[in-house]
């Protein structure tokens, strides 16, 4: 990112419209000590959560982009310890809530059940986030959703299949026609 882009990001951040890219700009404050570990089950679980947020449609979904593994890397390397704690407790929370509401584990639930469940959880997250003060802890599902979006759209699939990726455009055309349904350029 160069300054022009950074400046745009800052203005978007202050406008409060940006999800997912926050981790590029907001610094964290404390030293990272990995005190939480991700099991293979955790990663498989997070891939299913990600796939529910961004499922395969005409293009592959978040699971194909292995966002579960990406979440592990980001939480381990980039999150402050207090946020790591929230994230890991969130995995348990999400499973417990699923048992309570769906009467089945998230992994056992149907895609439709998972979808409806995460729609409700996302609403809870949004209500919480909009009312929270700056120093209040983040909501675990906001983290999962942000990392899913970031992980998916910065992945190879997110570039080359979900959108149109031209590594070397070679030219700039400032005004070309667009029709609804055309994918974005990366």
């Amino acid at each position: 990112m160069d300054r022009r882009e950074a400046v745009q990001y800052i203005s978007l951040l202050l406008g409060g419209t940006l999800v997912g890219a926050n981790s590029f700009l907001t610094g964290c404050k404390t030293k990272n000590e990995v005190s939480y570990t991700f099991t293979d089950e955790d990663i498989a679980f997070l891939n299913e959560v990600g796939e529910t947020i961004l499922p395969a449609t005409a293009t592959p979904g978040a699971k194909a982009a292995n966002v579960g593994e990406f979440m592990k890397v980001m939480v381990n390397d980039c999150y402050e310890e207090k946020d790591q704690k929230i994230f890991h407790e969130g995995i348990t929370n999400l499973q417990n809530e699923s048992e309570k509401k769906l009467k089945t584990s998230f992994m056992q639930a149907t895609p439709e059940q998972r979808h409806d469940f995460l729609v409700a959880l996302n609403k809870e997250q949004k209500d919480y986030t909009s009312g929270k003060k700056a120093d209040d802890p983040a909501h675990y599902f906001r983290m999962m959703k942000e990392l899913t979006l970031l992980g998916y759209f910065t992945s190879e699939i997110g570039h080359t299949q979900a959108r149109r990726h031209v590594p070397v455009p070679g030219k700039y055309e400032g005004c070309i026609p667009y029709k609804k349904g055309d994918k974005a350029f990366t």
């Binding site: 400046v7 947020i53 980039c78 910065t154 997110g158 700039y172 400032g174």
Partner: protein, 558 residues
């Protein structure tokens, strides 16, 4: 010629050092260019330039370890995993912040020419006259006509793309064809230019070439400039001045050379050479030459002078004026406005343009009067939002994913870049207690913006809101992301030019008054900051100073 003796020494290999080396070697001077950091070879060492985002484990972001290692760089966008190698190691080379100062340094061959923003504007006559007219600091010892031909010279070689817009406050140059505005920018520019007599919204002038130049391929619109360009699409030491200097056969490049001091002979009142510490083996070496160009970047150039000739002047070479290390400037920014453009859903653009439109300064020019002195310009642009947007009603699921895979709402934003006045009390000094990895004293930086800049910031935001509103933009919101000195990465003024040796460090040819064979032509030499990006002016001043030095050498004056 004895070993370690050259015709000329250049300290630093960034934008101005590269220019000094090119000009000196092309005039036949055997030159050594000393760079404190490692070598970065053009193309070969651009290790991230051809990587895709998904090849970076954190997709370009920052880890907790990076945040711990770079307590200064983390304060703004430069800290990222893609070009971390090109920012100075803060543990090896600390500095003291009397007041917070965000010093973002590039310690390698090419310096920050690899990393710069590339916006390239001429100063106008108004800028060179400003101090004299306002009674601020000291008068510039030069006027626009003195530098005009050197701007042309620098533009032709560096390759600046832009339009000739016919504005006296932003003089035209010798440009390659401009980059294009997109549909929204064109319409906003039309409306702003129709409504206001006082300003123009123009296409940014940028050191990215739109036609091949020398061995360089024109910009490929990848927008990855800060990773080094394998096409040579933008001006850097590596793409432009270094190959030209090397082609003469007169250049020796010595990386890992930390200049400790300039060696000064009080009998001849001239410098004889420089003393360096080899950053790898910690040994000291002396190099000798008839002329020395100091291009270590504003703060480090002043630091070198402060450590030189201290047996004659305790405050160092150039300190007899009482101005060495003072008058530290930058550009203040991070405030402006943005909003949404409606009615363009059927329009898009192709390519990633590393440039955007520019709104030319109008405050305190012509009939415009403000409650502060000087002014600001805006940089910005329009684009369609990407995947990181919120979509009302869609939060989870396939429709959400497919919607995010399409371009979103058009928005346009502008950020102002404002002039900072040269305050004598904004200064750097040597800290007697803190030493760097090589045992050298470090700088303490004590600088802040004051009432004039704070008053200007109100207009920087409010005028942007007004302009975008008049241009028909919806949901216009102002913002001020806050600014501390240094964030502009335009450090200037610590060894200013002037007309009088009692009040300035350098004369009108960039010579140190106290050592006429020492030239300082980086940001340190600036007598005021203007509101436009300064690097093109360093290029022009450097070429001009080398031309002068060569003529003086011929006359036997140096």
């Amino acid at each position: 010629m004895p070993e370690n003796t050259y015709d000329a020494i250049v300290i630093g290999s960034g934008i101005s050092g590269g220019w000094a080396a090119k000009e000196l070697t092309e005039k036949g001077f055997k030159t050594i260019m000393l760079e404190r950091g490692k070598n970065v070879e053009h193309i070969k060492d651009y290790t991230s330039a051809n990587k895709e985002l998904w090849e970076f484990p954190h997709r370009g972001g920052r880890t907790q370890q990076m945040i711990e290692d770079y307590p200064v760089l983390k304060r703004d966008y430069p800290l990222n995993e893609m070009n971390l190698d090109w920012w100075a190691n803060e543990k090896d080379a600390p500095y003291v912040e009397v007041k917070r100062f965000d010093w973002f340094r590039g310690y390698q061959v090419g310096g920050r020419s690899l990393l710069w923003g590339r916006q390239s504007y001429r100063w106008s006559e108004y800028d060179f006259e400003a101090n004299a007219k306002d009674g601020i600091a000291v008068d510039w010892p030069i006027r626009y006509k003195d530098i005009d031909p050197w701007y042309s010279y620098a533009e032709r070689f560096a390759g600046i793309s832009g339009n000739r817009d016919g504005l006296s406050q932003l003089p035209d140059g010798e440009f390659q064809p401009a980059m294009e505005m997109n549909c929204v920018e064109k319409d906003v520019a039309d409306r702003i230019n129709k409504h206001y007599k006082r300003t123009r919204m123009i296409m940014g002038r940028v050191a990215n070439i739109t036609q091949p130049l020398q061995a360089r391929t024109n910009c490929q619109y990848r927008n990855k400039c800060w990773l080094g360009c394998p096409f040579g699409g933008y001006f850097s030491t590596q793409s432009s001045t270094l190959p030209a200097a090397m082609a003469t056969g007169n250049l020796t490049l010595r990386p890992f050379s930390i200049v400790k001091e300039i060696l000064y002979d009080k009998n001849t009142k001239k410098a004889t050479g420089v003393r360096i510490i080899d950053a790898e083996n910690n040994q000291t070496y002396d190099y000798f030459a008839k002329i020395i160009f100091v291009n270590a970047s504003a703060i480090n150039s002043a630091w070198i002078l402060m450590n030189s000739a201290t047996d004659v002047w305790p405050g160092g070479l150039g300190s007899s004026s009482g101005e060495l290390g003072h008058n530290l400037m930058d550009h203040h920014f991070r405030t402006g406005a943005r909003g949404n453009a409606e009615g363009y859903d059927d329009k898009y653009y192709f390519g990633r343009r590393p440039n955007g439109p520019y709104i030319v300064r109008y405050q305190n020019l012509f009939d415009d009067k403000r409650n502060y002195t000087r002014g600001f310009g805006y940089q910005g642009g329009a684009s369609r939002s990407g995947w990181s947007r919120e979509i009302a009603e869609l939060n989870i699921g396939g429709e959400f994913k497919d919607a995010l895979s399409e371009p979103g709402q058009w928005s346009i934003g502008f950020t102002a870049f404002g002039e900072i006045l040269p305050y004598h009390e904004n200064k750097i000094t040597l800290d007697p207690n803190v030493k760097d990895k090589w045992g050298l004293p470090v700088v303490a930086i004590d600088a802040e913006i004051k009432e004039n800049e704070l008053a200007m910031r109100k207009d920087m935001q409010e005028d942007a809101i007004e302009m975008l509103t008049i241009a028909g933009i919806k949901d216009v919101k102002g913002y001020d992301g806050g600014y501390t000195m240094g964030m502009g990465i335009h450090e200037m003024g610590t060894a200013r030019m002037g007309r009088d040796s009692k009040t300035s460090v350098l004369n009108g040819n960039n010579q140190v008054w106290d050592a006429m064979n020492v030239f300082v032509t980086d940001g340190a030499c600036m007598t005021s900051s203007a509101s436009v990006n300064p690097s093109l002016t360093y290029m022009a001043l450097t070429a001009r100073a080398v031309d002068f030095a060569a003529k003086e050498m011929k006359k036997g004056n140096l």
